[in-house]
């Protein structure tokens, strides 16, 4: 009994080392062939998801969205964010902060200042504003190399392209985020605007947007669920933009003299 436990421990250690090496060198192909996972002891769970989670943990998401998305964005998922670019940017930010690259295809209107304010690290962002007729090839190439690819409305994709790209994302373990309707997306976040705060009749300025985000999709995500959020969300590791001025203004006052 101890010998099998020992062997399993050794195997687990070897796998961890291999995964780390693959991640460092970039020679990773996500899913090891299922046939090779011949464990001496039958495991309680199927081998595939365990491998995925071990080798490629899900991408982090903003804490406000954890009710909708669980612990994170599953690798290989396709998410459509409809109705709010800010929410899509907020979705990209935590992974970007942790070192992931983000490709943006066919979204020439993306507000990069807003992206930076949301916490997206622009050093690891690449834009392909007008992919033209090569859009499927471009998205596929970026899915190979980047953890997250945002696909905008200006990438003329057919439904067949979309199916192939979803399969590609699943195979490569990248996350495909679409700001345009994406038939067959595993997860759809629909955003309805509730109202802006901050602006008056010629006074104030836009501060925050209250939205209601509805989740739909396939599989476990199919159970409808909605949360109310205030956009922009706090950038990872920073205070929220909207009340930053006020709190900073009051807290930095101190008695002198």
């Amino acid at each position: 009994m101890t010998t099998t436990a020992h062997a399993r421990e050794r195997e687990a250690r070897a796998r961890a080392v291999l995964a780390r090496v693959e991640q460092r060198t970039g020679a990773r192909s996500l899913v090891a062939p299922v046939g090779t996972v011949a464990s001496p002891v039958p495991e309680p769970e199927p081998a595939r998801p365990v491998l995925t989670d071990l080798e490629r943990p899900p991408l982090p998401v903003p804490p406000e969205l954890e009710r909708l998305l669980g612990a994170g964005l599953r690798r290989g998922a396709t998410v459509a964010v409809l109705g709010s670019t800010s929410l899509a940017l907020a979705l990209l930010a935590p992974a970007s902060v942790r070192g992931s690259w983000v490709g943006v295809v066919g979204q020439p209107s993306i507000g990069l200042v807003a992206a930076a304010q949301a916490g997206v690290v622009l050093d690891r962002v690449a834009l392909v504003p007008e992919p033209g007729p090569d859009a499927p090839g471009v998205v596929a190439a970026l899915l190979d190399g980047m953890d997250m690819v945002l696909v905008g409305p200006r990438s003329g994709l057919t439904d067949a392209d979309r199916r192939r790209l979803v399969a590609r994302a699943r195979e490569r373990g990248s996350v495909l985020v679409s700001t345009a309707p994406w038939p067959g997306a595993g997860l759809v976040l629909g955003v309805r605007t509730l109202g802006w705060t901050g602006a008056g009749e010629g006074d104030g300025r836009l501060l925050s947007l209250d939205v209601r985000v509805t989740r739909s999709g396939r599989g476990a995500a199919g159970a409808p669920l909605a949360v109310e959020l205030t956009l922009p969300l706090a950038a990872p590791g920073r205070t929220p933009v909207s009340d930053g001025g006020k709190t900073a203004g009051t807290s930095t006052l101190r008695l002198v003299g």
């Binding site: 991640q23 460092r24 060198t25 970039g26 020679a27 109705g83 709010s84 670019t85 800010s86 070192g99 690259w101 490709g103 020439p108 209107s109 993306i110 507000g111 990069l112 200042v113 807003a114 930076a116 304010q117 622009l122 050093d123 690891r124 962002v125 690449a126 834009l127 392909v128 504003p129 007008e130 992919p131 033209g132 090569d134 471009v138 190439a141 970026l142 190979d144 190399g145 980047m146 953890d147 309805r192 605007t193 509730l194 109202g195 802006w196 901050g198 602006a199 008056g200 009749e201 010629g202 006074d203 104030g204 300025r205 836009l206 501060l207 925050s208 947007l209 922009p232 933009v241 909207s242």
Partner: protein
Amino acid sequence: MSAVPTPAVPTPAVPTRSAVTTRTAVLWVPDWPVVAAMRAGEVASHEPAAVHDGRRLLAVSAVARAAGVRRGMRRRTAQGVCPELVLLGADEARDAVAFETVAQAAEHVVPGIEVVRPGLLLVPADGAARYHGSTEAFAEALTDAVVRVGHESQVGVADGLLAALLAARAHAVVPPGTSAQFLAPYPVAALGHAAADERSRTATRTLVDLLVRLGITTLGAFAALPAGDVEARFGELGAWAHRLVRGQDPRPPVRRRPTPDLEAVCELDPPATRLDVATFAGRRIAEDLHAQLLARSATCARLEVVALTEHGTELSRTWRTDLGGLGGLTAARITDRIRWQLEGWLDRAAGTDQGDPERGAVVRLAVRAREVSAAGAEQGGLWGGASGADVRAHRALDRVQGLLGAHAVLTPALQGGRDVREQVHLAPWGTSERAERPADRPWPGRLPAPAPATVLPAPEPVTVLDAAGRAVVIDARWTLSAAPAWVRWAAREARIVAWAGPWPLAERWWAPDGHAKAHVQAVLDDGGAVLLAWVAGGWVCEARYD
């Protein structure tokens, strides 16, 4: 202070040279900073001039010295001594760049030189003297070479660094083995000439002060002290100085090997106006450069592609080649870079100047390797270089660039600015373009956060109406004629439920590219919010907050 016995240096009958001594020639251009500054500032050589760094004078020209101006003076004192003194700003980069011509002239005479500082060159003299017949002939050849590039210089040859430096000031050749005797009568303050930078100069000055207070006033007296005692009393600096004054070398000159530029050039005759013709030539020079790199087993971190048009404009761009993931630099990759760049230019030339098709004709195409280093010896980034994820992303971007061309893949960076568009700098992936304006300045008047998440690629013209249906305008005093109530696009209109502004923004009004506009944020009844701008007498919708 002749009480100190000077000839304590062992003087053998036959001059033998210590193993740690190199026969060194020093080429010295007096007052180099001021010479370079006068050359750059076009100050005539008969005018007194000096270089100052804001606190004190760093270098003084001969004419100014004759008028009584000295190095280290304060500006006001110097101007008091010599009212017509021309003061020039200190610029180390300018000095170094200007000295490069002198260094190259010297390299024509003798390969392998060490530039100690701008104005001072070190050359191992043994082989060169043999080649030129005698040391004197060699020194003359060096001076002549420097005169040909337009500078007066002095050359000194001696054993050891310090003796050579002082010999250069005397424009003399010290016979082999007699450096110690040559140095002996000099005051200890002469040690300061051997200090290369400001810090060691200060340290040396302290040491010289100490020596003088101890009664050791000449280099001979210092050299007479036992080496072990000097090291014990004065430490590392003292040991260094002691070696110098005995005519030895702390280290032999570090010889600079002239590195030939790796460059491949081709002249295009007839001039290329079409991309395929130019690319074909580009392919040839790419293969040439690649072969050169291979022959040296070298790689380069930057690749500069330069094209000369018929009208003499030089179009150049530098590409980074250290981002390319694995695979390295191949002829095909170099060709790709050339093609992308020419694509941009020939397209642009064709697009802007329809009437003048010759404008874009390329007559000369060159590709240069910059930052050449031995292959496999590249330095990674400070924080561990490119990790696996970065390498994969770089490779993916290279592939997309291969599909769509260089200008289709952009990398963003934030830069300074007030407008939503101005604050973003986009550069093609792989080029080393910098943002134009620094982002860490205050930029008063910048639009407040949060920034709009959708910035329309081209502003949409809109009409803004008040509640009575009249057009809302902004007058010269930046006030709205009425509260805005409706926004009308070409196809739709929306009621404004809340708004903020107007925030006027008059930028660069003193320059021809100046412009003035006013921003208004408006919340619409459909829940959206837009950023409107009043530009040149009309409204546009610039961005959406969504």
